[in-house]
Symmetry: C2
Subunit: 243 residues, 2 copies
């Protein structure tokens, strides 16, 4: 295929992070990002309702009912994605937002970004909150070598096997292993970690970062076993391990 | 050991991201982070001179010569780190900053953060720019499964072997592999990627993100081979691969 250079006449695909919890936008977004988002009239989003709430909360100056807000298709063909990017080809910026945090990182959006690169549309990621990055910074674990694994298997046996593999690999490679769980299963995963992992392994629990329920703590598995467990079942949480 | 709960009488260790390039702070920091940093009188930093420049650029209201700015020791004992955290134990916040980007992620600081957890000092990561996160968002590669490997070996043979291993692992696990190089070796690494990797493998080059020299592009290795190479030798750059 021929490779198009970035067309200056194109609009850009602007990747706009959103709040992780209830907070005024100056708490989590640089003013330049709010300002950039305020000038956009075409959005591609994870969920239209959440996007409208996020834009409203960010002080979006446009009329939301006149703003072009389209949802990412779950299984979009290239043609469908190209349709979403059509405004950029016509010279106008398209904003990409997920419901919370950074689009395309542990969140939908990567296929649209990939498609923008194929079409030669400039991609402009903006600064904002990511629980993965905040959790890793705050963990004190190895930030020179780390891996994010998304969700672990939900069946207990496969999950426990996976935890052992991750711990072993972490120990051999001095790698921080990062993973998430759906809120109602967080406490099961936490218990499994305490049961399965070695006493000297360090475990960080990062809950509801950037909100008033923020909790961020690193202890060894041995210490966690002697510590009252944090409430996790109603909050987004991130787990980080270094063996 | 006994595990101290977070002491409300303690100050916190506040992790403060800094600019990736020349830019006014509202371009890369939320107002709340600038405000939080402005209230801190004790800083632990990668380099004191860079820290003073960064604080000045962030509109720090205190007198820099009266502000307690100490450098992270290269090989600090626990005692040395505890000394740096003493103001937090005495009730005052301590700010941790690296020269550019997020402390403790591909940057020094993790040992100090780890020590804060051991001492029961609350750790509060702040939102700001990270080239790793921005590059991953903007790559269009897999954001559900990714690993950061830091620097690859510098010797050509070991580096090429490592690239093959990373590509193979990426293909098997559908994992985005992320790595960096020192600026003057960026173009060597880029050439090695084009020589060693398979034509269908996607490679993202993310250069000087958030600055006026920003360049962010994803192409297959086959396409990169037919494309004029970007200038990389004088810029920080991040490479991301998905096979």
């Amino acid at each position: 295929m021929s490779v198009a250079a970035d067309k200056p006449s194109h609009g850009a695909l602007v990747l706009i992070p959103t709040r992780l919890g209830e907070a005024p936008w100056p708490d989590f977004l640089p003013a330049s990002v709010q300002n950039r988002a305020a000038g956009i009239r075409h959005f591609v989003v994870e969920n239209a309702r959440a996007a409208r709430a996020n834009l409203k909360q960010m002080g979006f100056p446009g009329l939301l009912r006149e703003t072009d807000i389209r949802e990412l298709p779950a299984e979009g063909s290239d043609d469908a994605l190209d349709g979403l990017l059509a405004p950029a080809l016509a010279g106008e910026d398209v904003g990409l937002m997920s419901d919370a945090g950074c689009p395309a990182v542990a969140d939908p959006g990567a296929r649209l970004v990939a498609r923008a690169h194929v079409l030669g549309i400039r991609v402009v990621p903006q600064v904002g909150p990511s629980s993965i990055l905040l959790g890793l910074m705050g963990s004190g674990l190895n930030g020179q070598n780390f891996a994010f694994h998304g969700y672990l298997p939900s069946a207990a046996e496969s999950r426990d096997r996976r935890l052992r593999t991750l711990e072993e690999e972490s120990h051999k490679q001095c790698r921080t292993q990062i993973f998430i769980e759906t809120p109602y299963r967080n406490e099961h995963l936490f218990s499994a970690l305490l049961r399965v992992c070695r006493p000297a392994t360090r475990l960080t629990v990062a809950r509801a970062l950037t909100t008033s329920d923020e909790y961020l703590r690193t202890l060894t598995i041995g210490e966690w076993r002697q510590t009252p467990p944090p409430a996790l079942s109603k909050y987004p949480a991130l787990f980080l391990m270094l063996a």
